[in-house]
Amino acid sequence: MTHTAVGTEAHPFPGERPVTDAVVREHNLNAREYAEIVAMLGRTPTLTELGIFSALWSEHCSYKHTKPILKTFPTEGPQVVQGPGENAGVLRLPEGWAVAFKIESHNHPSAVEPYQGAATGVGGILRDVFTMGARPVAVLNSLRLGPLDEPRNRYLFSGIVRGVGHYGNCVGVPTLGGEVAFAPGYSGNPLVNAMCVGLLRETDLMRAKAHGVGNVLLAMGSRTGRDGIHGASFASEELSEKSEARRPQVQVGDPFTEKLLLEATLELIELGLTVGIQDMGAAGLTSSSAEMAARGGVGVELDTSLVPTREAGMTPYEIMLSESQERMLVVAEPHRVPAIQAVCAKWELTATPVGRVTDDGIFRIVHNGTTVAAIPGERLVDGCPIYYPEARESPVAVARRSAVPSGPPAADALGALPLLLADPTIASKRWVFEQYDSTVQAETVLGPGGDAGVVRVPGTTFGLAVTVDCNQRYVTLDPYEGGKAAVAEAARNIACTGAVPLGITDCLNFGNPDKPEIFFQFREACRGIADACRAFGTPVTGGNVSLYNESPTGAIDPTPTIGMVGLLADVSHRVPSHFQAPGDQIVLLGTSAGHLGGSSYWEVLHRLVGGAPPPIDLDAERKLQRLLAAAAERRLLRSAHDCSDGGVAVALAEAVMGAPYATGTLAAKVRFANPARLTPEALLYGEDGARALVTTLPGQVSELMTLAAEHGVPAEAIGRVEGPGTLEVHLADSHLTFAWPVAELRHGYFDSIPRRMTEETR
């Protein structure tokens, strides 16, 4: 017989179900975890306590499968103000400014209800950033869906895009970029990753810590309803028939209230009225209060009967686990409460005292005077068992890596380009970003449709470049190289605008980690990310893990999305992605080895996702990044576009077709010396890393070539931009010439997604 620890008696809430084995299983807690809980409490937990453990010990909150690996990420650097562990990471900028940024997934909610799932995903990430005292200045989104020929995928895509758009639009934060890819592995389990970037004065940074015994906890914002109960553990299980039955939990977003909450929160922080503040995200009141207490090394006592609810008769269990949106938890000194309430009232919100900071370290919940939960706080947050899953690459994956195409391609080297450009993964995402406000706040220097978005920091001349990237095909085929490639591509996109990469946030979307082949993908991809970040000096400042992305048809492709920010020292140095004017000279930077393994070309022309993806030379990437920044600073670049999916041919076509709303089109004449005598397919569509396609004024070519040589970056002047007409590519070794009418390419590229989306049904 064990003894109940002092101060941890708790009683079941009248009418609540007794805790049986079945109830424990329903809460996604295994036998080992349950035994830990019983040992920790010295008694059977109440249902409310079980619910609290279930939420905090879910993968989403506890990182129980992933912590040891996440610890291997580089997190330090002179620019780091706040690394992982807070609501968002923070990096230092010039002139006393700092940038707070974070990415998060909302995959499962979006699979069930795409519009609300995606909308609340954006709402949550905005709150993560403004609780730090930062004003959100940009949103990005990374989406993965099954192929658009399935009606359900079209329905999901359309709902997700509307949801992402409406929420950001309504709150008044520009959506500056993102990515969308389509692959069969995401049918039934779409991915919605949302990133938010905010600005603050470094001295105003607010951390989510409760301290000061006797301080008051206030619930601020929306009332608590029965929506989203158990969202955190829902996010940590595979999607199945059962998920359908979880539909009543759908959370509904209210961006209008979010906007008020944003203004009120920033005002409270600016006036110094709070000790700590955190949004109620996954696991709602439970995680916000428990994590704030643990960070501050204190206990808390909450009285759930004081929490404003939407419906009468909510139980403490429901109140603690609700994921109703647009709520914050504020910690403040008691004498500040009236001032806090006055600020909230001005923004037509309420802030209600619901608890206090205590000195006994216990996480205690009372309801109308009855203690319904009392758990040692630190062990609640940190005591979840850590797992070290087995990692083993599957033989299928090994075989796929050495696969080569059998049979002829669907088209020859000439016909391949239009096919690639019309492939929905490569095609223009204008249909998507046209639904996102990208100019509100009037600081947008480069909007969506290029390599990275750029916003100016208000009142200064410098800007932030932002991007999200991941090529899941590479990660599927070689998780380590794929992880490196995701960071390298993000950095290349940032560098193409003229900016210097500063740091990353990551959203690690994988399948069930208990399967060795999945955990292998996870471990190796993280190793690749860590190596790339170390090489580039871009620390990981935070992120999010989303496991169990599986549907009855299997796991998703491993998708470690990288969100990156970079600094553009002067926005007048910005470099657009598209060609600017006839006469400009085209230079290809980097080495072309004609690598077709894992390429879009094989996928689209041979229907083969196979082969080894291009190995990423981190040193070459770093040199290219430095060169691009240096050339931009000297105003040598009229445009710069990285070579990624579809190789140099797709990059050329994208640059020549022009910006999404360019009024006139251009053309180009290009000649490749091709000394290595690559096949036309390998030369045009090979996907080697560390390359970018740039243009410069005719008089500046030699200066650019000299600068490239100084930076150790191979450079080849390959042609010039022409007036409207055809994109002409000549291969000097074989005397082959390819010509593509630009207007036709443009039509295929811009029309591909809208054409597929005309029919929107469920």
């Binding site: 539909r247 759908v250 509904v252 209210d254 109703s324 469920r762």
Partner: protein, 86 residues
Amino acid sequence: MTWRVRVRILPRTGLLDPEGQAVEQALAALRFTGASNVHVGKAIALDVAAPNADEARAKARAMCEQLLANPVTEDFDIDVEPAGSA
């Protein structure tokens, strides 16, 4: 025969209805007393060809389930009357 079908689609009870709340508050601000429990949804009116009212209703129900209403977040009800009678 043609039937005039009217579908009313409202947010499922228990789900947050921010639009309903906003309208409720606006009504109060306009000094309309005694208005409560306000919910805002969609109204759809259409003509449906069917041999009888029951079949028109069944057709409308199928339309709601497959297209008009979102089964995850909305409930609907259907009115049917002979076209031209309203």
